[in-house]
């Protein structure tokens, strides 16, 4: 879950109205925000990935104003159509065809608010921007462009030899150098891989402003002195770039900016409208889904508390969704908004009697019977991971690894292979407990995997006994007893024709039930015991329960 750091005093000021800090803390969870930690007035908040509008104090303040009843309904955004900046898409750029943007004017920034905007930008890049591939944002000081007379920008491509001074840099670098040497270049260069010419925003005087999605030019660096911003968003999907822009606009509006159009033309691109959507809501859903009776006018109030607009239209409610709430797909999302506006704490849990009778699955019931018998025989249950290591499964036990099933890119070396045997895990358990009192008698039931179409899963039982006097007869007696108790299954042990490195020669067998092989049993050989540093005698068996006591 993404995290944002807030300052309670600043939030309080943004929300305005007569609200205590305690009230703010109390209400935050009901916006779906988890308080991760608090240190005086600084709090860390976890927000849901579907609400990037909560990636700043500004966005959270908009939500708080609604729930606290200070400002209800849609946050009004006015865009002055008479902007002097324009951006032309000069040619079709298949790798990153879409660009959008806006001019934000007359705002006031400081280090803290710049940090908040950076957090928003990072979140949008990671989340809906899919690590900048789908969309990425550039914020520029518009006055710097004004100073050099660059009002008319273009979106085109540049060769990798073209150079400019990148953001936070002190000297000119070629695009190729930026991609190879700078951190951002190394992190995001993959997006431009295989492209001879890379997307670039510039003016008509060959001044580069940005090479999206990598880096801006140092020329337009945003500082606490910046008053007017040029925002550009580029990406691979028209809706996605406008999604990102809408979050930036809503946030900057709350930060005190006004807006002016950035006129955009060319190759399927156009000036963003940031249009609101309408969803017609059926009030019946409120009682059907939430289980509460509520008047339509109350529903309208609840929706407005969630910063949407709503009005009654006969038997329906017309709901207006601001552009930045692209997390709302349809009516069901509005049910949640109504629940939030109503207050989750006001929903009374209700216990309706079940008309169904619950029952356990047959596999669970039968496995439980096996477990009971095993415990009755003095065996202690252990649980091991089904995703384990090559070392335990094959190397230490010298088992055949030709049918090994691996996972890709595990973060842990101990969890890379799906187990095809439980017995190896039990040997590992003995190995970890050589200082504990003997006898040690363990069992495990669990899923094992084998290659099939595409993968077969079955449930196995394995038992292992470790003490100085144990032998084949003792483990065979346990095997027979487990299968005979409850299940009345008679098994036979037959000398195996295959050589098994796990067991002592001449002291292992295949286990058969009704002519079908279900497992193996034997005394574990000394070499394997040495591998596991076990210094006593060990015997064990493993059988397939699937197909034997359940399907």
């Amino acid at each position: 879950m993404p995290v944002v750091e807030l300052n309670l005093n600043r939030i309080k000021k943004l929300v305005s109205g007569n609200i205590t800090k305690k009230k703010i803390i109390d209400v935050l969870p009901f916006l779906g925000l988890d308080i991760e930690s608090q240190d005086g007035d600084e709090i860390r908040i976890e927000y849901s990935p579907n609400r990037p509008d909560y990636s700043t104090e500004f966005g959270i303040a908009i939500g708080l104003q609604g729930l606290l009843g200070i400002k209800k309904g849609i946050q009004k955004i006015k865009i002055n159509k008479k902007g002097k900046f324009s951006l032309t898409v000069e040619r079709s750029i298949p790798s990153r065809p879409y660009v959008t943007g806006i001019i934000a004017k007359n705002g006031k920034l400081d280090d803290h608010s710049i940090k908040q905007l950076m957090n928003m930008q990072e979140d949008l890049h990671l989340g809906i921007g899919r690590k900048r591939k789908k969309s990425s944002i550039g914020l520029h000081d518009a006055d710097k462009l004004d100073e050099i007379g660059s009002f008319h920008l273009n979106y085109a491509v540049a060769g990798r030899h073209v150079s400019f001074v990148p953001l936070n840099g002190s000297s000119e670098l070629t695009i190729d150098e930026i991609l190879k040497r700078t951190d951002v270049g190394k992190n995001y260069g993959w997006i431009l891989e295989g492209q001879r010419n890379v997307p670039c925003i510039g003016d008509y005087g060959n001044q580069i402003i940005s090479i999206p999605p990598i880096i801006n030019s140092a020329l337009t660096t945003v500082t606490p002195k910046t008053k007017n911003l040029l925002v550009e968003v580029t990406g691979t999907d028209k809706d996605s770039v406008e999604d990102a822009l809408s979050i930036v606009v809503s946030t900057l509006q709350m930060a005190g900016f006004e807006f002016e159009e950035l006129k955009i033309t060319g190759y399927k691109n156009s000036t963003p409208q940031l249009k609101e959507r309408t969803i017609i809501y059926d009030p019946k859903l409120t009682s059907d889904i939430l289980g509460i009776e509520m008047s339509q006018s109350n529903m309208v109030t609840c929706l407005k508390k969630c910063r949407l607009d709503a009005s009654i239209r006969g038997k329906k409610i017309k709901c207006i969704i601001p552009r930045y709430r692209f997390d709302i797909f349809g009516e069901m999302d509005l049910v949640e908004e109504i629940a939030l506006g109503y207050g989750i704490e006001n929903l009374e849990p209700k216990l309706s009697p079940s008309i169904t009778i619950g029952e356990k699955n047959n596999v669970t019931i039968k496995t439980d019977l096996i477990t009971k018998t095993a415990v009755g025989l003095g065996l202690l249950e252990v649980l091991n991971s089904s995703l384990t290591s090559k070392k335990i499964l094959y190397e230490l036990t010298k088992r055949n690894s030709s049918e090994m099933i691996s996972v890709l890119d595990s973060k842990s070396q101990e969890h890379t292979i799906l187990r095809d045997s439980l017995l190896s895990g039990l040997l590992e358990n003995l190995s970890k407990n050589i200082h504990e009192i003997y006898p040690q008698k363990l069992f495990e039931t669990g899923v094992v995997f084998s290659k099939g179409k595409p993968i077969r899963e079955s449930i196995n039982l394995a038992v292992i006994l470790a003490h100085k006097d144990t032998n084949f007869s003792e483990i065979k007696a346990i095997l027979q007893s487990i299968l005979r108790t409850q299940f009345k299954i008679d098994c036979k042990t037959k000398t195996s024709s295959q050589s098994q490195e796990l067991f002592v020669k001449g002291r292992y067998a295949d286990i058969y039930v009704n002519g079908k092989k279900i497992g193996e049993i034997g005394e574990i050989c000394n070499e394997i015991l040495d591998n596991f540093r076990i210094r006593t005698s060990v015997v064990g068996f493993e059988i397939n329960l699937s197909g034997l006591i359940f399907d």
Binding site: S48, P349, T356, L383, N384, V407, L418, K432, I455
Partner: protein, 465 residues
Amino acid sequence: MSQVLHDIEKKIIDSLQKKSDQTPEQLSESTELSIDQIRRGIEWLRLKEFAKVNESSKVTISLGKNGVDSFKNGLPERKLMDLIKDGSKSFEQVRETLSGAGFNAAIANAKKNGWVKIEKTDSGSTISTKEKPAETPEEKLISLIGDKSIPEERIENKLALKFLLQRPDYVIQNTEKLKIVSLTEKAVQIDTTQSDTGAIDVEANAALVYAARTHPLKDTIDEIREIFVKLGFSEIQGTLTQSSFWNFDALFTPQDHPARELQDTFYIENQKSERHATPTQIKQVSKSHSQNWHYDWKLSESQKMVLRTHTTCATIKYLAEQKPDEARIFSLGRVFRNEKVSYKHLVEFNQIEGIVIGNNTTLRDLMGIQKEFYKQLGLTKIKFWPTFFPYTEPSLQTMVYNEKLGKWIELFGMGIFRPEVTKPLGIDKPVLAWGGGIERIAMLKYELDDVREFYNNNLNWLRTV
């Protein structure tokens, strides 16, 4: 009083009744028991107040390295006198024979005894006999000790002993602890031939044995399963390996969603699922993704095999296949996340998930089931907060107050399946879903702060928890 006595105890009492005040070693000899058995027996008898042990210490004196040399060859000052017996010698001559510390000690003691005179000449000092040296008390003492070890109290000339103790490594003082065992009054009366009627010491400690048992985590899993059954839910099973289709696509998780990346999800190497869904299901799910998420949905992505990241894939598959009008279903089992293992994260853990379809399927009903579930677990202080899950809307999480930790803890999540999930699969009724990780609840129950403990299989913990 009928007293139960161990054979060892009887033998010790017998021996002490014949001869009081014995050391453990003497008892070992007289009873023919090992010294360990005697020590144990004495300890038992002491606890029963049948025996007393008087501890005393005895100091003995023996010769050290220099003492042994002096016993054979005389003290250094005696060696000196032998050297100058036939006339005066220079210091150099003497030093050659009496090397090192022996030289200084010899000169100093011979002078102190008044045996020698020392003259300083231009070519250095010379030394000659002044008086015929008689046997000194120290020499007498060294002869007395010899190669024996004698009790300190037998040494009469304490001054000579003091001098020798001051000189390095001449005599050694050994302090020996002595234990003298005797019987208490009541034990003197015991008739060891009579006390036994087959009775045993019922008060003595017995050896530890450990019960065989089920795994503690399994116990919690079973407890939770029982509660679901009690609430009217029936168990279904699903496989741990799943196609991405059922793990992600059917649950409205877009194919470029971060959760689907290798760094969060375990993909299985070289495995592709072929027939995991019907053509209609695939078509409808594909449509739902393209329309709502604006991208090109790819069949090949949905065929990648993963280790399931939640049990929801089992329940959604069941719903899509059975399309029940009314049902309470649950699925329980292992799920996987490609995370770094730590005290709070495992790559593999247990999850349970229940769904309700049919009548009485409002959010309030779902909250009611939660409340009852927690009540059955003994957790009564709960509240609900809104939250986000990709495939439910509305979504809530339960917060449970933990008295010991003094804070609210997030436990199960819940919600109503999105129409974007259910409609493409032909499910047209609201489906309530709820569930969460089981290890978290088990940790509270067993008061663990490291979740790895459940899978360490440390026998000491498993046997005693």
